[in-house]
């Protein structure tokens, strides 16, 4: 699982000094982004703390599979995402209201993809929303849809980087993002309506 972002498994020779140097230079600058990603995945501060710690310790242990000059942030995000799926998702405190597979199957159906999907939401209404309301709408999405929006719109990863982080084809990144945004618009619409911003 902990392979370099390149397709092949590469093992690089690192001296002890170089391990610390690469860790500090390439990995530590991303710790705030990693913490926020962990928090938005787990929705729990203690779990986010543990997840970030575990990820950085794994990154250090497996640093020889990190190829210098490649995208360290994407490499770290991939480890964090895999740790979340393997170690945290099962014990997540987030109530699993929606079965993700079921949601994706529904949205993947031909009927859904052929239908012009619109939510009656105006840009002006979204502009009225404060950060907490936008965050709550995002947090209300099933975790896999939430993840693509975080990676693309908050962290600014390219589709290609997202495909590698999530181990899915670029076409799936594109379609999952599209569906995630439609779901988010529904949530934002609910917030805007409850606040009276859409009247």
């Amino acid at each position: 699982m902990l392979v370099a972002m390149s397709e092949k498994l590469t093992t690089n020779e690192y001296t002890d000094d170089l391990r610390y140097e690469v860790f500090n230079r390439e990995f530590m600058p991303h710790i705030d982004s990693m913490y926020n990603f962990a928090f938005r995945l787990t929705m729990d501060e203690d779990d986010a703390n543990d997840l970030v710690q575990d990820t950085y310790l794994k990154a250090f242990r497996f640093i020889s599979s990190f190829e210098q000059g490649t995208n360290a942030k994407a490499w770290l995000f991939r480890i964090l995402k895999n740790s979340f799926i393997n170690d945290y998702r099962k014990k997540s405190k987030e109530p699993s209201k929606v079965d993700y597979q079921e949601v994706e199957t529904t949205y993947n159906s031909e009927e859904a993809s052929d239908t012009t999907y619109t939510v009656d939401l105006r840009a002006d209404a979204v502009q009225e929303l404060i950060g907490d309301e936008v965050a709550n709408a995002l947090n209300a999405l099933p975790v896999d849809f939430r993840t693509v929006i975080i990676l693309c719109d908050i962290e600014g990863f390219t589709y290609e980087e997202m495909a590698k982080i999530l181990d899915i084809p670029i076409g799936t990144v594109r379609s999952r993002l599209h569906r995630a945004r439609n779901l988010l618009k529904e949530k934002l619409k609910s917030y805007a309506s409850s606040m009276g911003y859409d009247s």
Binding site: Y35, G131, R181
Partner: protein
């Protein structure tokens, strides 16, 4: 987003009466709008955007909404600093 792709505005318009009020391929246009905003559009998608997006009111409205949501996610959601205690624990564990 590519600077050469200017944001159309519904308000600009003595030509408004000549604009499309319905879009017969809006689902496809939504995918293109998303690609443009994510800076992932192909040349063909950019061409389609340039040629059509200032003529179609539903697409202009959708572009504004999608851009506003993307900007809100990026700019309005609080980004917390990683607690110092986590940094300290990581550093002490890798040095032990």
């Amino acid at each position: 987003m590519n600077a050469s792709l200017t944001t159309p505005s519904v308000e600009e318009g003595a030509e408004k009466q000549n604009m499309k009020h319905t879009c017969e391929h809006h689902a496809e246009c939504m995918k293109i709008i998303q690609s443009i905003l994510d800076d992932e559009a192909t040349e063909a998608e950019k061409d389609h955007f340039r040629e059509n997006m200032d003529k179609c009111i539903p697409c202009i409205e959708s572009y504004r909404l999608e851009k506003c949501i993307k900007d809100s996610l990026n700019l309005k959601i609080e980004k917390k600093p990683c607690p110092q205690s986590i940094l300290n624990t990581i550093i002490s564990k890798i040095n032990s």
